[in-house]
């Protein structure tokens, strides 16, 4: 830790050293952290830096979380044909909030294809080029890792035999589409045997 020498008896200067700023940022809830990303450029770079985020996450995980106060349940409702996602929080899980699925843009070649599935048909004329998918998703082996879920499109046909999976963080709304190659000789049965996990050595997510 750097000590800046001062010989004056004047009041302590207003300038806050960087390591001190970081120590405060690590202790903010994720919402505030993202809120303050626009304070200044150096903060915005810091907050998305992966090393910073690793330390931040370790702080979050090591904090004492009250089982009753901080837990929320995600409810994946498969009512009728559309899947909805809700978050239930509060002491008796009385606060029910509907979560919006991520707006994942449709692959260009999908838009020309007539999509038929058990829910409803969508003709190609109704899908404008920039239209985002209004689909609902399956959650893979319902598990959440560090707040991230892995979603599957149940209805979209594979383009070029690529299966699409989506890593999605419902809190920050960030998502990432993953394309997996499907070997020609694998049957549909195999297609649903993925597993999704986190490798803390490589500090990244892993799909098996």
């Amino acid at each position: 830790m750097e000590i800046s020498p001062t010989t004056s008896n004047a009041k302590v200067s207003n300038h806050i050293p960087d390591d001190l700023v970081n120590s405060i940022l690590y202790k903010l809830p994720i919402k505030s952290l993202k809120h303050f990303e626009c304070v200044c450029k150096s903060w915005s770079h810091l907050i998305i830096d992966s090393y910073f985020m690793t330390v931040y996450r370790n702080y979050l995980l090591s904090k004492d979380h009250s089982f009753y106060d901080d837990t929320s349940i995600l409810l994946h409702s498969t009512k009728k044909v559309k899947y909805d996602l809700y978050s239930l929080s509060g002491e008796r899980f009385e606060n029910k909030v509907k979560l919006d699925w991520p707006k994942v843009p449709l692959h260009p070649s999908v838009r020309g294809v007539k999509i038929k599935h058990s829910i409803h048909d969508i003709s190609k004329d109704n899908v404008p080029p920039s239209r985002v998918g209004d689909f609902s998703f399956e959650i893979l082996r319902p598990i959440s890792i560090n707040g991230t879920l892995c979603l599957e499109y149940p209805e979209i046909p594979d383009i070029n035999d690529h299966t699409k999976l989506i890593l999605w963080n419902p809190t920050t709304k960030e998502f990432k589409v993953i394309y997996l190659h499907k070997s020609n000789h694998l049957s549909d049965v195999w297609a649903h045997h993925y597993q999704f996990g986190y490798d803390h050595v490589k500090n990244d997510y892993k799909m098996i």
């Binding site: 120590s23 405060i24 809120h35 626009c38 450029k41």
Partner: protein, 161 residues
Amino acid sequence: MASSSSNLISLKTSDGTVFKVERALAKTMKTVQAIIEEADANIYMIPIHNVFSHHMDMIIDYYKLSVAGKSKEFSVEKLDNDELKDFLLAVHYLNMEDLFEVLTQAVADRLEKKSVGYVRKYFGIENDFTPEEYAAIRKKNDWAFKGDDIEPEEDEEKQEE
């Protein structure tokens, strides 16, 4: 005369007050500890810059509570945000690990619901974004700005009218 086997260390704050503290307390201040260890002879009095007597009072309170296993009872509620910042800077200078964690958490808790403008002022930070850059980040993190208990931005309130 200061005896070399004395259990008390003399610390002189910025405002000229001398505190005689137990060696164990001085040990929690890594900065002071470093000064003691570096000195060839026994130090008579250690000046601690950036630390005022009201800071030392609180440091001693915290020390007494933590020795008694009651560190959770320590509270900085009575300090306003700027006083808390000054105290944090003093503890940061002295390099006191536990109290530092307590105070940074207290500051984080206070800043949680504040506006971006307030945070800039608090840390003395200039906004170096262009209006377009700011708007882009704001849009990306729009969900983080929503909430009844969050302080609204000064300039945005005017713009929305």
